[in-house]
Symmetry: C2
Subunit: 115 residues, 2 copies
């Protein structure tokens, strides 16, 4: 059994200005991380779900990026106001938030049209 | 399909001296992260396996800690010299390194005897 029912990684990687790839942190992932944490605890999932900060998840063109394991669901362009949907629909309800998912053909792909 | 066949998170969380829980970084996780990255690339898995830095994984008493998803295999007390076994046996060979695994009863458990 996994230690956590869901293990959520929020990219908090910073980059210097002018770097060739965009940083996830440009759009407030710190606030996103805090909101996810707060709402997860409020939903009573504090011991079953871990909201983690992570280094670069390598899907920078779709930032801010979040990945949920063990189901390997990837979310892109996640804003702090999306935290409630991720917690309620996915972490509580078990249904990934389709509108936030990164397209399959964009994941870890050199052919992603956004690169 | 997951973006990565294996997504490896190495806890690189720092703590101030005297904090109640020990920091994973006290034992050179930076070197561990670098070695895992280097050996993964050398094994030709650069595009299939991601070696990630992460914030606190909340298994601090077993640090330095590494978790591998989507299989949710947790390793504890991982030293830089263990990187080769993780890459060769687990990431290439598909067999988790049993001697490094955190005991099931210690994972995310208030009853862990090490706490």
């Amino acid at each position: 059994m996994p230690a956590f029912e869901h293990h959520v990684f929020v990219c908090c990687h910073t980059r210097p200005e002018g770097a060739p790839r965009p940083p996830c942190t440009a759009n407030g992932t710190s606030e996103l991380h805090a909101k996810l944490q707060q709402l997860t605890k409020a939903a009573g999932l504090g011991s079953k779900v871990r909201i983690n900060k992570s280094g670069c998840l390598d899907q920078c063109e779709h930032g801010p990026v979040v990945v949920v394991y063990p189901e390997a669901v990837w979310y892109g362009n996640v804003q702090p106001e999306d935290a409630a949907a991720i917690v309620e629909e996915h972490l509580v309800g078990g249904r990934p938030v389709e509108r936030l998912r990164i397209a399959e053909e964009c994941l870890n792909s050199k052919n992603c049209p956004h690169q």
